[in-house]
């Protein structure tokens, strides 16, 4: 093979080098698309929807004190059907109206506890405090009030549309 020493044009060696690099880049891209796609796939999943869960007879809830109800949500956890514990707070109001809150503190997810002295909900973790009347933030780092949940009454039972939300941000967005 003649070497091109004139400094002009492209030698055959260089040309083949470029072609090899281009083919290599093409093949690498073809492999990278599905591989990276499958790797980041969990971040592109559609948001989960709620699931309706009965919290029991409506007459066990009172106006004065919120009541904590532990529930079990059945989640499709990858290839496993997982039963996961969750907690909600229920407050009764007039005319068969209720307020149901997801008990997870909106800061980072500790379960908020009822403090009967202060009559507020308190997060055990970083000092988050939520108001009894509407679950708004009174103190601490939580970026939004407690997340209220949809409910309906069916055959004398309170049925809640349980849902998890993204934590640590201002907007209430489904997870």
């Amino acid at each position: 093979m003649k070497q091109n020493t004139s400094g002009q044009g492209v030698t055959r060696r260089h040309f083949l080098g470029y072609v090899t690099a281009a083919l290599g880049a093409f093949v690498a891209t073809v492999v990278a698309v599905p591989v990276v796609g499958a790797f980041v796939s969990p971040a592109l999943k559609k948001k989960g929807s709620g699931q309706w869960i009965s919290l029991g007879a409506i007459d066990k809830f009172t106006r004065k004190e919120p009541k904590m109800v532990g529930i079990t949500v059945v989640k499709q956890d990858g290839w496993v059907e997982a039963r996961q514990p969750r907690v909600v707070w229920v407050v009764a109001e007039d005319n068969n109206k209720f307020r149901v809150y997801n008990a997870q503190c909106t800061h980072l997810g500790c379960v908020a506890d009822w403090d009967p002295q202060d009559r507020t909900w308190k997060s055990p973790c970083h000092g988050g405090v939520f108001a009894f009347e509407d679950g708004r933030v009174l103190a601490g780092p939580p970026p939004r009030g407690l997340d209220s949940l949809e409910y309906k009454i069916e055959g004398g039972e309170l049925v809640v549309n349980y849902q998890d939300f993204r934590l640590g941000i201002e907007e209430k967005t489904a997870l």
């Binding site: 499958a38 790797f39 290839w79």
Partner: protein, 232 residues
């Protein structure tokens, strides 16, 4: 800028020398398509590594969940069926390519002095490729996988004297079950890849050290054509 970064690195690592040795080495005249099967095998090895890492993220090595986890991967994960497909077809093509590579080396007499050790390391690599196939086949834990591996391990059981010992060690028990599955998963994703990687490094070192063999049809002119390492 690109050259100055390359220079900075080269002065401190000597990476340029390695690059030269691997990609700018002299190749004897007359080398053709037949000499590409080693590199093709190498490519598939890298493909299997990359797709295998993704598969491992979604695979659960228990008899209860193995099959479901693979079905989840192929039906629920974006590109899952493509990644699994690449690994599946890559596995078969790797066996074909490595066999062709060995056949060519044999037919061209490339295993002769001074390349005997390249050949021996190659034979070990051939065994590892077959080992990958055998152990990977069990992982989906469907009927075919289960019975094929039952039969395969029973073969080991017929070896004189050591047969039963081999069978029990391979399976991790007298029957194919939960212990066999985690064992095969470890063979397939930890043991064999580390062995393969070490041996491939040795194999390629030897290939570079000796240069590619001169094809037989040019042997009379060999003295003039024997590959030498010259600056590129």
């Amino acid at each position: 800028m690109g050259t100055s970064v390359a220079q900075w690195l080269d002065e401190r690592t000597g990476a340029g020398t390695v690059w030269q040795a691997l990609f700018k080495r002299k190749i004897p005249r007359g080398v053709n398509f037949l000499y590409t099967f080693g590199a093709a095998t190498m490519f598939i090895f890298m493909l299997q590594a990359v797709t295998g890492i993704i598969l491992a993220m979604y695979y659960s090595a228990t008899p209860e969940t193995a099959y479901d986890s693979i079905m989840f991967f192929t039906t629920q994960v974006g590109y899952g069926s493509i990644v699994r497909g690449l690994h599946h077809w890559g596995a078969s093509s790797m066996v074909v390519l490595v066999a062709l590579h060995a056949l060519v080396v044999f037919a061209l007499g490339a295993y002769k002095y001074p390349r005997e050790l390249t050949w021996v390391v190659g034979i070990l690599l051939l065994g590892i490729v077959v080992g990958f196939s055998f152990t990977g086949y069990l992982l989906p834990w469907d009927e075919k996988a289960y019975w094929a591996t039952t039969v395969g391990t029973n073969m080991a059981g017929t070896v004189p004297f050591a047969g039963n010992f081999l069978l029990l060690v391979l399976r991790g028990g007298s029957e194919l079950g939960a212990v066999s599955l985690t064992r095969f998963y470890a063979y397939h994703t930890v043991l064999l890849p580390s062995l393969a990687l070490m041996l491939i490094v040795v194999h390629l070192y030897l290939v570079v050290k000796h240069g590619v063999s001169v094809p037989p049809w040019l042997w009379e002119r060999k003295p003039k054509l024997e590959a030498k390492r010259v600056e590129a």
